[in-house]
């Protein structure tokens, strides 16, 4: 098996979650690389949607912006933000990949501020389309480095909904039924959410990492499957496509 780095591992793991015929709302960077890899491996009919209006493009290279011309290259349609988000709101979009500066045990995300809202230590971009995608898409996934400063007990600001306070809080809030965080993919493990409490749960460990490693790099108590699987590393074919076709300039996998 070829050598690979942790970013390549995360992208390969994420890409396998996207089955053929599914639809996914993505941004730039690693999620986009995962969608492109899926399209070239197991899901040629994957429908990729960008929030600015690019619908089902055949990406010639990694876009820099979710609104740049690459996001509607050889696409089915160059639409609008309404077209994309309303398609999600109608229940047509299976997956979305999001990120943030902080995530909590229920998969809620913060991308708005560190510190106080009006006089923050750090002002971040805000929701952008993240709150919309996470509210509307069936299954939300996050790709992020495993780090105590990111995986926190309490968010400074709840920008984007996961399972809110856990249990049935998400549906009670009025968000569409049957939606929510699905998988959290890090450099150390893959997590899902325990069905009753909706707390984050380790289901598979990446080669070289123990549950304790993951817990040591997480600011809240993680649940775990009794016997987490070992995450399957990227195959030679996945690595070849990722390096030669998806990200030849190493914008994402070089990091």
């Amino acid at each position: 098996m070829a050598e690979y780095n942790e970013m390549e591992m995360m992208i390969a793991v994420a890409s396998r979650e996207l089955e053929n015929g599914a639809s996914v709302g993505v941004g730039t960077g690693a999620p986009c690389a995962a969608a492109m890899l899926a399209q070239k491996m197991n899901a040629p009919d994957l429908v990729i949607m960008f929030e600015a209006g690019g619908m089902s493009p055949h990406l010639p290279e990694m876009p820099i912006s979710v609104g740049d011309s690459r996001t509607f290259y050889k696409a089915a349609m160059a639409g609008s933000m309404g077209d994309t988000m309303e398609t999600c709101s109608r229940g047509f979009v299976d997956y979305t990949f999001l990120g943030g500066a902080q995530i909590d045990k229920y998969g809620n995300l913060n991308s708005t501020v560190i510190g106080d809202h009006l006089k923050p230590k750090v002002r971040l971009p805000g929701s952008g389309g993240a709150n919309d995608f996470a509210s509307f898409c069936w299954r939300m996934m996050v790709m992020t480095p495993q780090d105590k400063r990111r995986f926190v007990e309490k968010l400074d600001f709840l920008t984007t909904p996961g399972y809110l306070e856990g249990g049935d809080a998400r549906e009670k809030s009025g968000l569409p039924e049957g939606t929510g965080p699905y998988k959290i993919i890090t450099n150390m493990a893959v997590m899902d959410f325990e069905p009753e409490t909706k707390r984050m749960r380790v289901i598979s460990l990446n080669p070289g990492y123990s549950f304790q490693d993951v817990q040591d790099n997480c600011g809240f108590e993680l649940l775990r499957l009794e016997k987490p699987e070992e995450t399957r590393p990227p195959s030679d074919e996945e690595l070849r496509i990722l390096r030669e076709e998806v990200d030849p300039y190493k914008y994402v996998i070089g990091r």
Partner: protein
Amino acid sequence: MEIIDQGEGTLFTDPDPDKARFFFRNKDRKMVNKVMELKTAIAKFVHDGDYLGIGGFGANRTPVAACHEIVRQGRKNMGFAGHTSTHDMQILSAGEVYDRLDAAYVVGLEARGLSACSRRYLESGKVDITEWTNYGLTVRMKAAAQGVPYLPARNLMGTDTFRKSAARMAKCPFTGKKLVLLPALYPDVAVIHVHEADVYGNSRFKGIAVSDLDLASASKRLIITAERLISNEEIKRDPGSTDIPYYLVDAVCEVPYGAYPGTMPYEYFSDEDHLREWLSVDKDLDKFKEFLQRNIFDCKDHEDYIGLNGGLRKMRELRTKELLLQKED
């Protein structure tokens, strides 16, 4: 309808559709030549205190030349729709043009990083900020475009984004489900950059619309900047291609490369080196001051700015990149 919850943010604009209708009733529908210099259009239609909307998406088909001109003319105390705003916001923050912000996407330049200048300004406490989402602001403009005071949606719920918004929550009278009510947003003035316009303001753009059709309809005044002017004959030959009709438009300004250093679909790709320079110098106040002096205040217009940053040679490179010509045999 029973209101069950309410965000605590400030609502900066009046969602009353009747007030807007009376404004639109008095807007001139005559087909007159509206071509003018960008400088004149900004002086005439963008005032201190106005609420401003900017078209495009971040650094894609964004009226950058108009943002520079607004800063050059020293506009202050404006409201701003921070909808997918990236480099446009960086420019407006550099001029401290606005002090009221509807924030959906702000301070970041997507994968390129955060703007130190936008961060400094928002972290200073000088700006009143109400939180929304990108689609939330789209819906608010869509409500205005429809002439209704709000539209319901199913985002924002359960979050601090809702708590710091000026949205309300109510029970649906048909299903009993909870809905977020997003108040209509009528900007006083908006600027949209397009590929082609005729002298009356009939406008066409290529590629994604983002939220520009709703923005154009919702705005009380509308400035179009266009890569090139075309004849009215051409508009009439193919009216199906018109995206924005002339009667919405107050000024037409021909500004070639008007979205530079951003991307204009099928015309030129973004100048990543120059955007990186912006992101690097805006960290250092002294350097940034000098940079703004050179790139905005000492420039007469956008042509000067482009001349300063590589001129036609650079534009040709960016066209090659946009059209992926380097990949053709």
